[in-house]
Symmetry: C2
Subunit: 320 residues, 2 copies
Amino acid sequence: MNGFVAAHRAEVSTAAGRIRPHIRRTATLTTDLDPDLRLKPECFQVTGSFKPRGAFNAVLSQMAREPRPIGVIAVSSGNHAQAVALAARTAGIPALLLIPEDANPAKVAATRALGAEVIQEGITFANREQRLLEVMGDRGFSLVHPFDDWDVIHGQGTAAMELLEDVPQLDVIATPVGGGGLLSGTAIVAKSHNPNIKVIGVEPANADDAYQSWKAGNIRSLGAAPSTIADGVRTTAIGARNFEVMFANELVDEIVTVTEDEIATGVRVAWTRLHIALEPTGALPLAAYLAGKFPKGSTGLILSGGNSNFETMAKLLGTR
Amino acid sequence: MNGFVAAHRAEVSTAAGRIRPHIRRTATLTTDLDPDLRLKPECFQVTGSFKPRGAFNAVLSQMAREPRPIGVIAVSSGNHAQAVALAARTAGIPALLLIPEDANPAKVAATRALGAEVIQEGITFANREQRLLEVMGDRGFSLVHPFDDWDVIHGQGTAAMELLEDVPQLDVIATPVGGGGLLSGTAIVAKSHNPNIKVIGVEPANADDAYQSWKAGNIRSLGAAPSTIADGVRTTAIGARNFEVMFANELVDEIVTVTEDEIATGVRVAWTRLHIALEPTGALPLAAYLAGKFPKGSTGLILSGGNSNFETMAKLLGTR
């Protein structure tokens, strides 16, 4: 293990201790599909996704540094928003979330229910980063970036740490990849556990910026917000720290893409055969596994969340 | 603990050892709904329901007795069929399932895929018991009753045994009740663990024969097959052994009924908030909990299965 991996792996252990009182140690499941398959269903995590692992580590780490933040701010239309709201409430500081106007009202309500202030007026997918900088300047709140942040990466790595505690002999480990927070943390943990584990990120073919960045050897951005039912990975580019972990240090072996039909099949198999109500983003690794896109061997899939849009679910169920 | 309870509790432990190589020890889950709630999601069990616990115990027990069965037979349109098929295949003997003609084709296919012979021609919900006796006489196969069988009751008790290993301090434990196999096994285990635990069975108001039997102090039958979306508990009467455990020995404290709307709410909350894809029958205890029908305290719900009819689920999710 090189020094880079070892240092970051130690930070994942520190994160695990820091967040333990606030998150669930989710179970590892076996299935009737394949005796070689192990699932880490983070839909059963607090707030329904893996995001609180990183958000708690980031907020609690910031609270332990000087100057202590007077509040935290984040941009998200989805699971990161709820995670930051919960972590801030737990830490006893205000949270401000910028959520695009066209976001799912149920997720906005869930974020508000966790005590966060939400600004939606005038926020779009396109202008949200610019508006974030303006509001941060006004308020003096501290940013909790959804993926390009070491504390977040270390927190997200705790899911793979638990999975490998439960199943030490994995040959393959796969996660969704959007900005790369979960995949970076997973890669650090998996490669420090066993350099021969294949670490694979899965993204929609319609949002293949990580695939392009892997092939090109530098960060590539999508020109516009991609169209995919996997709405948790619509980020247009991975982060600089994520690129450093995944590709510059070659801790990720492969990025696999899946079609919208393959994602829909993954969701349906999850619901009907595995009885896990995943959101499309959470089903990405399962979709790639079912499509035969992984190497053989003992395979662990981190299923990232379950907060599906109700209408999407009904549509997927009704149009088999 | 009286002798009746102690003797049957010992049989549950024996059953647990017997079936351990063949079933999953399902996880106990916590939720964001209520810190007092614990879930035992048997939808993650082999074949997607709790039924293999009893079926394996019955088939393996029969194989250890003389004369050894030359095959096993059962009547079921649902989860018991798949469980018996799998247990027989594991034991290396043929299984014959009588399944009503109007059963869900997916469940029939799943039963055949497990190597069982299926007879559907001329089988109806009304005549199935009579046809069973005729076919048993023809073939000389041994019956695996879905609930009125001590081996089945002891096997089903292993779910509550695991739940109480994980959460010893439960105040309330609830399961669905159809024929009473799961509830009987649960009651034996719970009352031997702590006589003060409230043991509650939940059934649809549209199929309230267990409620009527509890109130009357003797077994009451529904006049016809009840109409309920909880198709796993459409049995018209509980069994004699189940009555003996649950009501004659007073090991069950209460039978609670839920409306079809309450069941639908239970399914939707399971899918959208808990991210567990339950079948309506599996959601019965959650439905009663959400409707405020349980006493206060630390509460364990045994969620019996996840093999939903796809069209039912689409309808439930699409018509909120």
